[in-house]
Symmetry: C2
Subunit: 405 residues, 2 copies
C-alpha cells in the first residue's frame, strides 16, 4: 500500500459530489427495515463495472449492462432494493428494472441511461414495483448519507461493510469510498454481492475498467462462504472527476496510488464479506505458494475455502489438516504429494507430504483464533494466490433452512 | 433392468467361492468396533478397478495399482482397515500397505501381487501396523461372511450398504454381490468410498473394466454429500469364474444382462450413500434433461446436489427454487434462462424461466418427503443426466467439527 493513503470516514459519500439515502418502502415484511436506497453523483461519472457470470443473471444486471453500453460507460446514480432479487422474472422483470432506473433518472433529473439498478433478495418473485414507485420520493439523499446507504443495502450481513481512503494526486486531495453487501450465496465470479465504489478522481474509463477487473480477480473472486454463485452480483465504480486532477490513465504517474488504493479497498471489503459469512465465527486466509501456474495456485487456495469438511474442522478448532490435503488433492492443481508443505499459523504441520514434528497444542492454538492463516507450499513453481473463507456452523444452516417462509 | 435378475441375500459372499470376515484389532479406540476385514476368493479373479483421481492418493490406492499392473489385473483377496486412511504417510505408508497385502497373501497362501489393500479413516497418521499384524490371524473368513464384512468396513455410515443379484447365463446361475462404505467426504471422481463387488461369472478383463467405468460414471461419480473428494476411493470388481459360464466379453449374448445388473448394483449403492450422507434426512434425485451435451447435463445436475443453500432449503422443506436456478446458472452448463423449466416432484414451479402457476402447498409437499425428485429441463438439446445428493443439517456439522480429537 502506498504510504500516503489514509482511511477516512463516510463510505460512498466520502468523495466530493456524492450523496446517498434510503427508505423503507415495504418490500421486506418488517416495515422498519430499510429496503430501498439511492446513491447519486452531482455530475455524470466515468464508470467501470463487473457483473455475475451466471447463465441466469437477474434483470437489474441486464439493465445495467444495457445502460452502460448505451451511455458509453457513464452513470450518475444507482437505485438498490433488498428483499427481492428480481431474477427469473422474465420480461416483466426487465420492465420493472427499467422502471426503477426511470424513477431515479426522473427524480434527480438525468438521462435514464445514466441510472444503474441493483436488486438482492429472493429469486423468482415479481418486484412489488408499486411500492417502489410510491416509496422512492421518500429517499432524501445527503452528502453525508454514505453510512445510511451502506446500512440499507445489507440482507443477512450482521453489519454494514464500508471503507474510504484519501490520498493526493496533482496536489489535489482525492478520495475513494466504498461499501458492499453479502454474506450467503458467496462464491464469486461473483458473489451475491453488491459493491459500490465512488471516487472524485478523474479517471480514464478503459484504464479504470482494467484496474477494477484486476482488483476483483484478487479480492471478491477469491472469497467463498458456501460455493454458491449469485445471479445478481454487481461491482460498480463511479468516478465523477470533481477533484479536478489530470485524468488518470495507463502510465500516469498517479495510476499506481489510485490502483493500490482500489486494491486495498476491494481486498478489505472481500475479507469483510468472508469474515461475516452466514453463521461464520472465523475468517480463514489460505495462502498458496510454489504453484506451477496462477491458475493452480487459485484453484488450490479456493478448494480449501470451500471444503465443508475443513470448514467444520475449523469451526471446532480441530487442526485436522488431512482435510486440507484432501481438498488440495481434489482441486485439480498439479503437485507432488511427497513435497507438499502445510503451515497453520506459525506451526508447520506437514513437510514432504508427511506429518511434521509439531506439538498438537500448537496446531490447535493456530486454528483456535478468530483469524486463521493456512499456508500451503506446493513446491512445484513460483506462482502464488490467496483466498479467504470462513467456518461452517449451525448458524449457516439455521439462516438457510427456511429463508422463503 | 433385465427382467430375469433377482435380488438375493449375502452381499459379497453371495457368489460361489467368496468368503469374508472381520475382527477388532485396536486401530479404533473402541475395542469392540470392527476395524479390520478381509474378503477372499477360492481362486484368482479377473479384476476391474477405479480409484480416486486425487493428486494426493493414499498409499493403499498406489499399492493396489502396482499389484494390478504386476498381476495383469488379477486379484484373490482384499484386506481393509478402518480408523486410519494411511494417506500422507510417505514411504512408511507404502511399506505398511505392502505389509498388509503380504499378511493377507501369506495367511491365505497366494501371491502378494494378488492382494488388494484399502484403508479409510484419519489422514496423516502412520498405521499401527503391529496391531494389524497381530490382529489379522483372528479374521475367520466364512462363506456366509458377506454381511459381517459389509458391517466392518463402515465408518460414519449409519448402516451397512449391500446388495446381491442372481441371474442366468448359459443355463448357469450367476451372482453379483457388492457392498460399499461412505457417508462424508463424498464428491466422487470418486467419493470416500470403498466398494467391493464380487461375481462368480467368468468375465473378460477389458470388457469388465470398460463396463465398470461406464457404471461408475453414472452412479458413484454422480453422487455428492459435501463436494469433498477423498484420497482413498476404491471400487474393485472380483470375478472368479466359478459359475463356469463362457467368459463374457464385448458382444457376448450375455453381456447385456451382466452389465445391466452391474449398473443396477452400482446405482443402488450410490443412492444408498447419498441417502446416508452425514447428517442427511433426505435423498435428492436431480434429473436434468434437454441439455446440449452430456457434460452440460452432468454439470447442471451435480451443481444442484452440491449447493449448500439448496441443501439447507431441502432440510427445511422449503421449496426455494431460486437457489436451484442460481446453482444451475453458476454450473457452467449452457442454457437460455427464459426457457428453463423446473419441476419439484410432480409440481411444475418454473416455466419459461418464470414462476409457474402452482400452489405453494403442493411445492412444499413435493420437498417434504424422505425422497425428493427435482426435474430440470434446459430446453437446449437432448442430453440428460441424473445426480443424487442429500440435505445439509446440523448433524453434518456435529459429525465433522471434532473428528480427530
Amino acid at each position: 500500500m502506498a504510504d500516503t493513503a489514509r482511511i477516512v470516514g463516510g463510505s460512498v459519500t466520502a468523495p466530493r459530489g456524492f450523496r446517498a439515502g434510503s427508505t423503507s418502502c415495504g418490500i421486506k415484511s418488517d416495515a422498519n427495515t430499510k429496503d430501498l436506497a439511492a446513491l447519486l453523483s452531482d455530475v455524470p461519472c466515468v464508470t467501470a463495472a463487473t457483473f455475475t457470470t451466471s447463465k441466469a443473471p437477474a434483470a437489474p444486471v441486464l439493465v445495467c449492462k444495457e445502460h452502460l453500453a448505451a451511455s458509453g460507460f457513464r452513470a450518475q446514480g444507482v437505485i438498490v432494493n433488498s428483499g427481492n432479487a428480481n431474477c427469473s422474472t422474465g420480461e416483466r422483470g426487465m420492465k420493472d428494472a427499467r422502471t426503477m432506473a426511470g424513477i431515479l433518472a426522473q427524480q434527480y433529473n438525468f438521462d435514464e441511461q445514466l441510472a444503474m439498478v441493483s436488486s438482492t433478495g429472493i429469486i423468482g418473485r415479481f418486484l412489488p414495483i408499486e411500492k417502489i414507485i410510491s416509496g422512492a420520493p421518500a429517499i432524501d439523499p445527503q452528502y453525508d448519507g454514505g453510512d445510511d446507504f451502506a446500512g440499507a443495502i445489507i440482507t443477512t450481513d450482521t453489519h454494514p461493510k464500508k471503507i474510504a481512503l484519501e490520498f493526493s494526486i496533482d496536489g489535489k486531495t482525492v478520495r475513494i469510498g466504498a461499501c458492499v453487501k453479502g454474506a450467503g450465496m458467496i462464491y464469486p465470479n461473483m458473489a451475491t454481492m453488491l459493491c459500490y465504489i465512488t471516487t472524485d478522481a478523474a479517471v480514464e474509463q478503459q484504464w479504470l475498467q482494467e484496474t477494477l477487473r484486476d482488483c476483483v480477480e484478487d479480492s471478491f473472486n477469491m472469497i467463498a462462504v458456501d460455493g454458491d454463485m449469485s445471479t445478481n452480483d454487481t461491482v460498480l465504480v463511479l468516478a465523477n472527476g470533481l477533484a479536478e486532477n489530470t485524468p488518470i490513465a495507463a502510465g500516469s504517474p498517479d495510476a499506481e496510488i489510485f490502483a493500490e488504493s482500489l486494491r486495498q479497498i476491494t481486498k478489505y471489503l472481500a475479507m469483510e464479506i468472508a469474515r461475516d459469512g452466514e453463521g461464520a465465527t472465523k475468517l480463514m486466509e489460505v495462502r498458496v505458494s510454489g504453484a506451477a501456474t496462477d491458475s493452480d495456485a487459485r484453484k488450490a487456495a479456493r478448494a480449501v475455502t470451500v471444503s465443508p469438511l475443513w470448514q467444520c474442522a475449523l469451526a471446532g478448532s480441530d487442526p485436522n489438516w488431512g482435510r486440507i490435503i484432501a481438498a488440495v488433492g481434489a482441486s485439480g492443481a498439479v503437485f507432488d504429494h511427497n513435497r507438499l508443505e502445510i503451515t497453520l499459523g506459525e506451526t508447520r504441520v506437514v513437510q514432504n507430504g508427511l506429518a511434521a514434528d509439531y506439538a498438537q497444542a500448537d496446531a490447535k492454538a493456530a486454528v483456535s483464533g478468530k483469524e486463521v492463516i493456512i499456508s500451503i507450499h506446493l513446491h512445484n513453481g513460483v506462482a502464488a494466490a490467496t483466498a479467504w473463507g470462513c467456518d461452517l456452523t449451525h448458524g449457516y444452516i439455521d439462516e438457510n433452512t427456511t429463508y422463503t417462509r
